[in-house]
């Protein structure tokens, strides 16, 4: 009889051969899930990331710089000689697609992209198949009429891709950035880019609600949005929250006719004791719109000594926005340089 090793604890027979075979089995790894993913596309290194990074939100900065660089939270491409998107797409299109996947852009169904449309990287990001149109809200900055020709070409082409791919986009014009301002108890008077970040912080921290609303709108055929906000509303400025809400439609980040508004999603950040008033004001405000297909109110409790409140509205409309100055510049450049013809990209995606 040969040697039969036995377990010292339970006494059962031990088979070394079978044990070694069992080692072949290796554990599985579940795909991670994240609360939200926020992509900043060529938005400048000075963006105060910490201000919009609530727990569970991954922020990825996609930027242009002096050299290629890759780390957690950063994809940096070396700036090319050309300022137009075709060279960037040739050089970096595939790589961006792959790196977005490696950075796990699909690990959350609440995905936000803040991008200046005039950057060539905005087109590459919008064009990448790693960006799923179903779960993404782009916050797209549109340059003003004094934009340079290459930037106008990039911006127009990006908007064309957004439309062709069916991505949902919140449009913010340069003019809106010049006008937006408000008062925050923590930051004092804020305006322009700082005010935009202040607003985006609400969108990201209400990412689930906003993503759900955008997704519902999408099913209703609404894909474009304007942004409006009242920062630091107070009873001596607005008689009540109803007036503050009504003022939102005059503060939208893109020119839209009242009748073309099809959805309104409001985030109200206020002291808890104001919740009832705000809900009543909201119902009254919504009644003023005929033909609204969808509307929601998210309430965020906000502290503070002065009792100020903030309102952020995402206002949906169906028609693709037109920016005549971008189209003219694009047509002019395309007539001399057919390579920038964005329609040649068709439905193929990197």
């Amino acid at each position: 009889m040969g040697f039969v090793p036995r377990c010292g604890v339970c006494g059962s027979k031990i088979s070394y051969t079978l044990s070694v075979e069992e080692l072949l089995e290796i554990p599985s790894v579940e795909r991670p899930r994240e609360e939200a993913i926020f992509l900043l596309v060529d938005y400048g290194a000075g963006f105060p990331l910490q201000q919009i990074s609530p727990r569970g939100v991954y922020i990825l900065n996609i930027a242009l710089g002096d050299e290629d660089s890759l780390s957690e939270g950063l994809i940096m491409f070396r700036r090319l000689r050309s300022r137009l998107w075709p060279e960037y797409l040739r050089e970096y299109g595939d790589r961006l697609n792959r790196l977005l996947k490696i950075h796990g852009v699909d690990w959350s169904s609440n995905r936000f992209v803040l991008m200046g449309s005039s950057s060539p990287l905005a087109l590459l990001t919008s064009y990448s198949k790693a960006i799923d149109p179903l779960n993404t809200l782009l916050i797209t900055l549109i340059p003003g009429e004094n934009v340079s020709a290459p930037e106008a070409v990039n911006s127009y082409s990006t908007m064309w891709i957004i439309d062709r791919r069916g991505l949902s986009s919140l449009i913010v014009t340069e003019g809106f950035l010049d006008e937006i301002s408000g008062y925050s108890e923590e930051l004092g008077y804020i305006e322009g880019g700082d005010a935009l970040i202040y607003i985006i912080r609400y969108i990201v921290s209400s990412s689930k609600e906003i993503s759900r609303s955008v997704s519902e709108d999408r099913e209703l055929g609404i894909r474009y949005y304007g942004l409006a906000a009242v920062i630091g509303a107070y009873s001596t400025v607005f008689r009540d929250s109803s007036h503050a809400m009504k003022s939102l439609v005059y503060r939208v980040s893109i020119d839209i006719a009242m009748r073309s508004i099809q959805s309104i999603h409001i985030i109200a950040a206020a002291p808890r004791d104001m919740q009832g008033y705000i809900e009543t004001s909201y119902r009254e405000f919504i009644r003023g719109f005929g033909g609204l297909l969808n509307h929601t109110l998210s309430f965020v409790e906000k502290g503070g000594r002065l009792g100020t409140y903030d309102l952020v509205a995402i206002i949906g409309f169906r028609d693709r926005p037109e920016f005549e100055w971008l189209r003219k510049a694009y047509e002019s450049v395309r007539s001399g340089n057919p390579e920038v013809d964005v329609s040649l990209l068709g439905d193929q995606r990197v």
């Binding site: 040969g2 070694v20 080692l23 072949l24 290796i26 554990p27 599985s28 790894v29 795909r31 991670p32 991954y58 890759l70 780390s71 957690e72 792959r98 790196l99 996947k101 490696i102 950075h103 796990g104 699909d106």
Partner: protein, 175 residues
């Protein structure tokens, strides 16, 4: 290296041969030569050959290998003989197997370390492998897992081959 033993007696088939010497040949075989002297006429040699794997038992000065009993001048000498046999049979093979298993487990644990890291901080792990995921056309986590699975399989295959080579000269009934 097993020494040459001389002055030993060998019991075989109910008979005892005196003045025998033994030495190892072909790594794991032992060859014993006994010189028989006849009162009349010339003496002759009796030769025994056994596999060292057939070592059975030692009792006092006697060491049994299969059906032969080698009787040494002292118990110490018998023990030395047994130790030397073990050093080229069981102990050598067990030592080689141990070394191979340890090497296998170490390399496997290196791969499992990547798994653990992938679970703990997936993003930084994927970034670490960004270059090798260049050709990945599907989910990068799946590509990395697939690669690790292949590495584990290849490692296991190599380990098995090494094990087989080590056991190649071990008699089948004790493998």
């Amino acid at each position: 290296m097993i020494s040459v033993y001389s002055g030993i007696s060998i019991k075989a088939g109910g008979k005892t041969y005196l003045a025998c010497s033994a030495e190892v040949i072909e790594s794991t075989r032992i060859r014993a030569v006994c010189r028989e002297r006849k009162r009349f006429g010339r003496g002759f040699e009796v030769v025994f050959e056994k596999s060292l794997w057939d070592l059975r038992v030692r009792e006092g000065r006697g060491v049994s290998i299969d059906d032969l009993e080698f009787i040494f001048g002292s118990e110490d000498e018998a023990c030395k003989f047994v130790n030397e046999i073990l050093s080229v049979t069981y102990n050598r093979v067990i030592g080689e197997i141990q070394k191979t298993v340890v090497e296998y487990l170490e390399r496997r644990s290196g791969i499992l370390g990547i798994y653990a890291r992938l679970r703990r901080s997936p993003r930084s792990t994927l970034l670490l492998f960004a270059e090798s995921l260049k050709e990945c056309q599907v989910d990068p986590i799946e590509c990395l897992l697939q690669r690790l699975r292949e590495e584990v399989k290849a490692l296991y295959k190599g380990f098995n081959e090494k094990l087989r080579a080590i056991l190649a000269d071990v008699p089948a009934d004790i493998q």
